[in-house]
Assembly symmetry: D2
Homo-oligomer: 308 residues x 4
């Protein structure tokens, strides 16, 4: 087994030298200002080991990575009834496509495309004020990352709200079919805010550790979800976690993962480690360009692919 810390440092050094960095997301004004030269990585093992390199302690906008955690919360609230409102299949379309919704009567294909994550957020919002729901999500993130300083970047949330016409379209569209039930403004408000949570790679990798360890925190033994549910969330990340680049990510990296347009990716090596990388530049499918390459190298050098 290669030395994890050495591999992580090595990869950070390699990434620092690359000039191909993709394009920073420009449709959210606040994100468009981020320096594309940054790169962070953090690996937290189920054995307690941790390796952090580059900008791995700098907070960034986790964006859609939050969808893994809101899915976890919503499943905890209503269990498999969630699947009446959202499917479990890859979409075959870009992350913000509305075409599939028309064909399938407002039911989004999976919880990781925008429409699906809005439907999941709507479940969390049910019966609560937006402020309460948001508080619950934030506390969950602080708890999982063992860090009470995790917070929401209000400027990013406001920026998304101001420019989120397409997400507003998706939300209203689903509401027209009764797939969501709460006032569209409530649900979208919570959605825009949990996407604007800011975390470092170290915090994020820690937060995802339960997915690599049968649903439990390996340090405290606290059970976040059952082992079966952890496996299933991993399966959904693998098939749907990278929008219309999910097949490519599985093919190249071979680990369950979820990307965000902030340039972060959370990946899970079951039984071994939780990994977070961050590089703001995106590829054509909206996933972190260097983030994916870094994970590909890490998985190969550590022999962590789930595919053999």
């Amino acid at each position: 087994m290669p030395d994890l810390d050495a591999v992580v440092q090595e990869i950070a050094a390699e990434m620092a030298q690359r000039s191909d960095r993709g394009e920073v997301a420009h449709y959210i004004p606040e994100l468009a200002r981020v320096d594309p030269g940054q790169f962070g990585i953090a690996v937290v093992g189920t054995d307690g080991a941790a390796a952090v390199a580059g900008d791995g302690d700098l907070p960034f906008s986790i964006q859609s990575i939050s969808k893994v955690f809101t899915l976890t919360l919503a499943l905890g609230m209503i269990g498999d009834r969630l699947w009446r409102r959202v499917g479990r299949e890859p979409s075959g379309n870009p992350f913000n496509s509305i075409v599939q919704l028309e064909r399938e009567r407002g039911v989004p294909r999976n919880p990781f495309i925008n429409a699906g994550a809005i439907a999941v957020t709507d479940v969390i919002v049910s019966g609560h004020q937006p402020r309460e729901s948001l508080g619950e999500i934030l506390r969950f993130m602080q708890f999982l990352s063992r860090d009470a300083t995790v917070t929401i970047d209000a400027a990013v949330a406001a920026s998304e709200k101001r420019t989120g016409f397409r997400n507003t379209a998706l939300a209203n569209y689903m509401r027209s079919f009764g797939v969501t039930e709460n006032p569209v403004d409530f649900t979208l408000g919570v959605y825009f805010h949990h996407c604007a949570i800011a975390m470092s790679c170290r915090q994020l990798a820690t937060a995802g550790l339960f997915l690599a360890h049968g649903g439990r925190d390996p340090e405290t033994g606290f059970s976040v979800v059952s082992a079966e549910r952890a496996r299933r969330i991993n399966a959904l990340m693998l098939t749907c976690g990278h929008y219309d680049g999910s097949g490519e990510f599985a093919y190249r990296v071979g680990l369950p993962g979820k990307s965000g347009v902030g340039g972060g990716i959370l990946a899970v090596a079951p039984g071994r480690a939780s990994i977070a990388v961050w590089a703001p530049g995106l590829d054509a499918a909206g996933n972190s360009h260097l983030g994916r390459i870094a994970l590909e190298r890490l998985a190969r050098r550590m022999g962590w692919s789930i595919f053999g």
Copy 2:
């Protein structure tokens, strides 16, 4: 670790008692006549162990499962140039959809939907007579299954050819974009015939063993593909192997797999075993109903999920 043989017998017994069996594929007349009461299973371990139960030694039409092996062959012939003609993403559409082809200029989304498999077959056909190409595919299957008696069911092939208007449409459509290059009749002839290969669960599980063992036959050490290519084929099976039910299969079973409308499924537990199940009745997405349930139980009882 539970006893493999006991688990396999147990599952076969459980399946024999179920009355929910799905519907036998009716669009290929020869397949419509198959008795839906049959069920077979075979598990071949990378350690040489084998467990077979039910109708696990009865040959059935492997249909689309052949696409795993034609993909392997075509990659051996032209390597990554194959990916100029076919993508690596889940389709988000039924197995025989032509919609995506129009949107993406004739390039099928992945090698496991019908259009993609026809494009892969076209690569194998290039520069050869159909008869030679077909011979090569058949010999490859005999070699991998260590059984020279594996053969093609000519009646099934003829039945598909007579009624294969939709596949003929797909093939001509891709040809119009130059994605395929050979005479449409040549390519389709080979395609219909390799889908009509008949194998038992035991033969099929043996043939897939290299995918569970880093690309090599564990008995002889013969290398079929590199370890990396084996991993990548597994990744493709996981994200795309069950048409528009691929997400569901990953979610429930947690193993790479490829189904066929004959009711067979080949699944791979990396590092552990190659598995073949067969139950002719299909679910709405065209995958074996009991086959999937049997694999779900096997993976859970043996602890073989790749997701933790």
Copy 3:
């Protein structure tokens, strides 16, 4: 030439006896309460003749028929620049489809599908308060119908606003592409209200008279639009005026027309007459069932088809 008044009375009598009446629109609660047994018709000739029968003097919700007049207004404001924001082709999709918008970057196919009419309304709203824009539209309708009592049914407008999630989706979707420019709430507010204008067949037929008379009011000679623009609006009504039933309407009736989900249809016999019919029950494409049949009979008996 048959006697117009006799033909109109005859058709009203025939329609009164039919039991096939289609289904009243149920997605707008206020409209769902309308009595499907009603039928009205009014024909106003370019020669000043008028024939009214049945409930031809009862006001009903003109709904999408208002789109003919908002199009006329918007063309008067910005002329052919309007066509940068909306197309002139039949959509091949239901009236509230969003699929086409995704494929064509937010530009609706024509001004008569919901998305297109919202884009047209957005032009009228530009630079004004919603209340002013709405006032302008209403005054235009009063002027054209020569009746200052024409008004907006506030209950219907409120009902649409409360339940108009799908239109809200369309509006936000176009806004995300910059096809519309004003606050979505402003534009939708005006849209919901002009769709809620209530008019009788007599008022509506009078309002449409300029389209049958080279763009001018035949009584006063006042020019509403140029003769060419009148022809072009008629052409758009013929190809796009009945959503995905436009081909059928042209085939059966042979006159330019625009339907609304309130059960009204405005039709134009160029050089001869403006016609309004009203029967609340709709067919599968969302067009008045008896309204279409009545117009088919009128066109045939009067020899008014534009197709020979």
Copy 4:
């Protein structure tokens, strides 16, 4: 009333001077060789007047214009039963799209897109040898154009057959749903050949005269179809005759018309004249660029728009 002959000469002169000529269809090799500098026009009045200018006596490949006549023939054979196999709505898609066929179970939207015309041809083929069906179509064209020298350009037909993969896809696709019934090769053979009929503008305008005169030849009084059927064919030409440019043609020209990728357009001024124009260069929607402009001018100068 302006002098028809003067107007026609004038338009031919204007067209000769234009340098914007569109692009000659390149996907049929034989058509790609045609000189884009040619322009022909012929107007045949219901009163017997005829005006021909430019290359109006040169034969060209009528291509899809033949679909008007095969529709007429098929309606004569099986009447309104034809509409079980093909719709009457504009498609909202390019002429050779297959997307709509998947959504609507193999039933093409109208008889003038490629799929619809193949379905219509399949009706004509039923119960006959391809050679007989083709003979019938050709004799019909000779009869209508009062010219027994009209013939099929075998080189064009062969060229289409060799490269017609997309039409072959459409035909097989419909066959898979049972929308067509005859051997795909038979139907396609006849289809490719009737599209390859070569006619001059003068011959074509003569052939279409019955559509401008209530279904009858004004000279002989011979009734080709009923007046109602003539109107209905005109309506279909208006809504569907120019593929995804039908709305535009109605908007600009205001006459029923049918275009072909050979650069011809047949247009009908009901009660007045039948018109054929030919200019090989096409616009983006596949319709003759100068042909449309010439018709727009003719309709305006003669006051022939059906819209007022």
